[in-house]
């Protein structure tokens, strides 16, 4: 039963208030103003006042405009016909493709998966980026953010991983994306030939702010349906900080007490309910989420990256165009390292990082003007090789080649007893007589 109301009593931010009865919490409505029609969602009920968040924004909405309640929550079309299509922030196709109204609709923002129906992820996703594959491998069903300051090539990295990763369906959720970036993604996907198995939900920076909130939910609801049907889905979200900012805007217009830098106290739960959609279904497919979280002021303690870090299964730091070895972490790596990948993967990973930390320390020491010892020389040399062979984002090698290169690099710089590796691995892999005299 559709009901219409035409008496808006309050407009604040993008929230309007209409008196109405028998309206369900979370229900959808259509707001018809002289500037167009927008969807809106019930976000609060107080007596017979209904608070609606208008997706297209409240600009141009008049107190006399019509509000039509649809009697259902937000839904999105679903079907194989979605593959290769591009949608805007409210779920309408923007690629001039065929009409999709005949497709069944699914509700977005559904309930969470029963934890006992999840399985322990075991699938290693090779990306041919050694800083990812060797040091922090991506695991199927993982949720991983890329933390980056403005100006870092995070979307390039995201696109690159998206193109190469071995997934059945790739879903891009662009939130507040610059139009150029959207075009870049599109071209990259077209060139790599993945467009036919990808779906894009694109909200660009010039679109209404509230629509940002819908993008992750739509992308993940569609991903979930593919996942249940046995597909291995990769969801790319960029940029989740823009999503959090939209949450902040709504919370402030609703007079909520802010907790930290104006963000609502529910920020953690709001982000978690999206990221937690990443799952490996028992006996069906999986959803892997790779998201960009831009760090305002390159500050990881900013509430958005901070809360994200606690939710996700690790994080990549992108700094000065490279993935930082320190702080970057894939929490699920232990599930695949040495189990799906080579047995020596674990030791080489830990030792190389430990030695690189030492090398950085030596660098700092030398920068302060201390004498170089012979030890220092070797660490410096190691640091240089590590950067060239592993950190540079242009390096494009598979995991096993990268591991071999790791052993080679270690034996070129150190003696076996200096690297802190169990003897059995040293016996197996150490390249003898390679120590370079400096």
């Amino acid at each position: 039963m559709l009901t219409e109301h035409s008496h808006i009593i309050r407009i604040q931010g993008d929230i309007i208030t209409v008196p109405a009865r028998n309206i369900g919490y979370g229900e959808l409505a259509q707001v018809k103003s002289r500037y167009g029609v927008s969807l809106a969602q019930v976000i609060r009920l107080k007596g017979h006042d209904v608070f609606l968040q208008v997706f297209a924004g409240s600009r141009g909405v008049s107190t006399g405009d019509q509000v039509r309640f649809l009697g259902r929550p937000m839904r999105v079309a679903f079907g194989d016909a979605l593959l290769g299509r591009i949608f805007n922030g409210s779920g309408e196709p923007i690629d001039n493709g065929p009409d999709l109204t005949a497709l069944p609709k699914i509700e977005i923002g559904g309930p969470s998966v029963n934890p006992v129906r999840r399985v322990i992820p075991r699938g290693f996703i090779e990306t041919r980026v050694p800083m990812v594959d060797v040091f922090n491998p991506l695991v199927e069903s993982q949720k991983l953010p890329i933390f980056a300051a403005a100006g870092e090539p995070y979307n390039d990295l995201l696109a690159r991983i998206g193109m190469r990763a071995d997934a059945d369906v790739v879903i891009l959720g662009g939130i507040g994306l610059k139009y150029d970036e959207y075009l870049k993604f599109r071209h990259a996907f077209e060139e790599a030939g993945v467009i036919s198995r990808s779906i894009m939900f694109v909200h660009t920076a010039s679109d209404p702010v509230v629509e940002r909130l819908l993008v992750p939910d739509m992308a993940l609801a569609v991903a979930e349906q593919f996942g249940v049907r046995g597909k291995r889905v990769l969801v790319l979200l960029t940029d989740m900080t823009a999503f959090a900012d939209a949450l902040k805007e709504i919370a402030i217009s609703m007079d909520q007490v802010p907790s930290n830098l104006g963000y609502p106290g529910s920020l953690y739960s709001d982000l978690a309910s999206r990221y937690e959609k990443a799952v490996d279904f028992e006996g069906a497919g999986s959803i892997t989420v790779l998201a960009v979280t831009s760090m305002p002021g390159d500050d990881v303690t900013h509430p958005v990256p901070d809360n994200t870090g606690y939710i996700t299964e690790g994080q990549f730091y992108l700094r000065k165009g490279v993935i930082e070895p320190f702080g970057s972490l894939s929490r699920l790596k232990q599930l695949v390292i040495g189990k799906v990948t080579r047995a020596d993967h674990g030791v080489i990973m830990n030792s190389m990082i430990r030695l690189f930390a030492k090398s950085r320390e030596v660098e700092q020491k030398l920068a302060m003007g201390f004498d170089r010892t012979e030890d220092d020389e070797r660490y410096i040399r190691y640091g240089k090789l590590f950067y060239e062979r592993f950190m540079d984002l242009n390096v494009d090698i598979g995991l096993n080649d990268a591991l071999d290169l790791g052993w080679k690099t270690l034996s070129e710089c150190f003696r076996p007893e200096e690297v802190g590796i169990k003897q059995e691995f040293i016996d197996q892999h150490w390249t003898k007589d390679k120590l370079c005299e400096i």
């Binding site: 369900g24 919490y25 929550p73 934890p115 106290g265 529910s266 309910s273 937690e276 901070d306 699920l332």
Partner: protein
């Protein structure tokens, strides 16, 4: 109280629903109510009463709820069901068994489904231990049923006050959890009470059915060296593990949950990742309990309210877990509760406080944060039961401080009430020094408190530990100095101190949780290895120059390092041990390289 109070919804704001209760009807604070919504009945808890307006937090999604929906009050507080059959279960925050929801053949959790916490059909072999006529008090044993390897005592319901006389006790035989096994009569009031194998207890109330609380003075062994040696945990004690994300809080807790020497382990996954719980759920049934040889799951209870599950139930999950812990403690068992993470629980408080429009305290947390945290940790403890035996509930809470900054309110309020602090540091985890518990900031009040029981290992154990702890500080000072003045700027003695502290760090503090041998160290091995390490620490090394010192200490370092990966008292272990002993004894004679 007659028939139940009813009301109607008048406002909805996220999980907070406000209803107006019928005139003159009684409502309890923290009472459970059910809201009818789209054909389902959603559980909620009263959190504020203002005249006829009752604010409730709904434990489910409120989508589709409308103004005017009917609310039925239950007349009861939010309670946990206690009885045999809890061990091995996986519950949500409201004690619904998730494995049974699973049978519904759906991947997703449906709202409004509430199942019995215990299997009502299963029969337990009850053996009475008292006869009719006995006079008993709450918490005293009436008999027992076998639950796994334990004797699960059937106790006089915790909620009964005063003394009671056993009027009737059933003979030995199989009973379901809801069947009467005894009838008691109050000696004061003459009221009768029916006892079943199961009972209910309001989760937010501490169980006090014990004789007295004792000072925790026995160690709860975790098999994590850094904790057991430097910052020991007492049975019945409390500890918190704060740390920035990625510092290894969860891995540390998982390790403790596996190898700690407890009878019962309760894992409360409170607002954390589902994936981590899944590992526990899937792996524990296959892991062997080193103590009993059975499956590790048989001693484990998992309370799982992951981050995407409803926020209000997250707040309840900690209480549900701790109530189950107190129950098993009253059966005379050694219970360990691990909560990951109490910050998420505090955030759930913050969310509901914000929706109630309460005046916020620091960082928008409610002003009652401190008292709530204290109340939770204070429920831990070592107690003497009515039969003279002891039971203990040890609580380790993870804290996830915003920005990794320990100054924030949840960490600070937790530190006030716990007995041990395991602070994880980013710099140690960046250097892959796991577990990343920073020995320079962590502390445990139990080290001295347990001085006497620890002395059983060797005379002056605590003193030795403190000495090594001092060495770690000294080593860190030298390291800081070296960063400023370089290695050439420090003396040979300082260098030796530093190298010694590095050996202690590498072989005692750092523990490889993914290595079959190193991940858990038995008490016997801890003592043996630690004493060998002490020989090294006490040895007055003399070297010609720094280069030589580095070379020889590196060789020694490597022996210790290799040894820790060798099975205790195995051939290779003894070989390395022998080498170390002779290196220390014959130091200076020849270079081992």
């Amino acid at each position: 109280m007659g028939d139940l109070s009813k009301g109607r919804i008048i406002a909805i704001n996220g999980p907070l629903a406000t209803c107006e209760v019928d005139q003159g009807r009684e409502v309890l604070q923290n009472e459970v109510a059910y809201v009818t919504c789209q054909g389902a009945s959603l559980k909620a808890e009263v959190i504020r009463v203002r005249g006829r307006q009752i604010d409730m937090q709904v434990f489910e999604s409120t989508t589709g709820m409308i103004v005017g929906n009917e609310v039925t009050f239950s007349g009861e507080l939010l309670s946990a069901t206690l009885g045999p059959g809890i061990l091995g279960m996986i519950y949500d925050g409201l004690q619904n068994p998730l494995t049974h929801l699973e049978n519904e053949q759906s991947f997703f959790l449906k709202r409004g489904q509430y199942l019995n916490s215990l299997d009502e059909e299963r029969q337990w072999d009850f053996t009475p231990s008292v006869a009719a006529g006995a006079v008993v008090k709450a918490g005293q044993y009436l008999g027992s049923v076998p639950e796994g390897l334990f004797k699960h005592h059937t106790i006089v319901p915790l909620a009964l006050r005063g003394t009671w006389e056993v009027i009737e006790i059933m003979p030995a035989g199989p009973y379901r959890v809801s069947e009467t096994i005894a009838v008691l009569k109050s000696t004061d009031e003459g009221r009768e009470a029916r006892v079943t194998l199961k009972q209910e207890w309001p989760v937010k109330m501490p169980v006090r059915a014990y004789q007295e609380r004792l000072l925790p003075n026995r160690q709860m062994l975790t098999q994590c060296r850094l904790i057991d040696i430097f910052f020991p945990l007492a049975e019945g004690g409390t500890a918190c593990i704060p740390g920035p994300f990625g510092a290894g809080k969860t891995v540390l807790q998982q390790i403790i949950s596996r190898y700690a020497e407890a009878d019962v382990v309760i894992i409360v996954a409170c607002g954390e990742r589902a994936g981590e719980v899944v590992e526990t759920i899937r792996e524990f049934p296959e892991l062997e309990d080193p103590k009993t040889g059975g499956s590790l799951m048989n001693r484990t209870v998992i309370i799982c309210n992951t981050s995407s599950m409803p926020v209000a139930a997250r707040e309840a999950s900690i209480y549900t877990g701790i109530t189950i812990g107190e129950y098993y403690r009253s059966l005379g068992l050694k219970v360990l509760l691990l909560a990951d993470s109490t910050s998420r629980w505090a955030q759930a408080l913050r969310e509901s406080s914000a929706r109630l429009e309460e005046i916020p305290g620091e960082e928008a947390f409610p002003a009652y944060l401190e008292s709530r945290i204290a109340a939770v940790y204070e429920r831990a403890g070592l107690v003497q039961l009515s039969d003279g035996a002891t039971g203990s509930l040890t609580v380790i809470g993870n804290v996830s401080p915003a920005g990794g900054n320990f100054e924030e309110p949840v960490t600070q309020n937790t530190l006030k009430v716990v007995g041990a602090f395991y602070g994880l540091s980013r710099s140690r985890s960046d250097q892959r020094r796991y577990p990343a518990i920073d020995p320079l900031i962590s502390w445990s009040l139990y080290l001295r408190q347990m001085k006497e029981s620890l002395a059983a290992r060797c005379d002056g154990w605590v003193k030795l530990v403190e000495e090594v702890h001092g060495l770690l500080y000294a080593g860190s000072d030298v390291h800081q100095m070296m960063l400023v003045v370089g290695e050439e700027g420090i003396g040979l003695d300082d260098l030796i101190t530093y190298l010694k502290s590095e050996i202690v760090d590498a072989v005692c503090l750092q523990q490889d949780s993914f290595d079959v041998v190193d991940r858990a160290t038995s008490l016997e091995r801890q003592v043996a290895d630690f004493l060998l390490l002490m020989d090294m620490v006490h040895h007055p090394f003399t070297f010609e120059n720094k280069e030589k010192a580095r070379l020889e200490m590196t060789a020694l370092h490597n022996r210790f390092f290799q040894m820790k990966y060798c099975p205790f008292k195995g051939e290779s272990y003894l070989k390395y041990r022998g080498e170390i002993e002779s290196m220390i004894a014959g130091q200076g004679a020849e270079s081992p390289c």
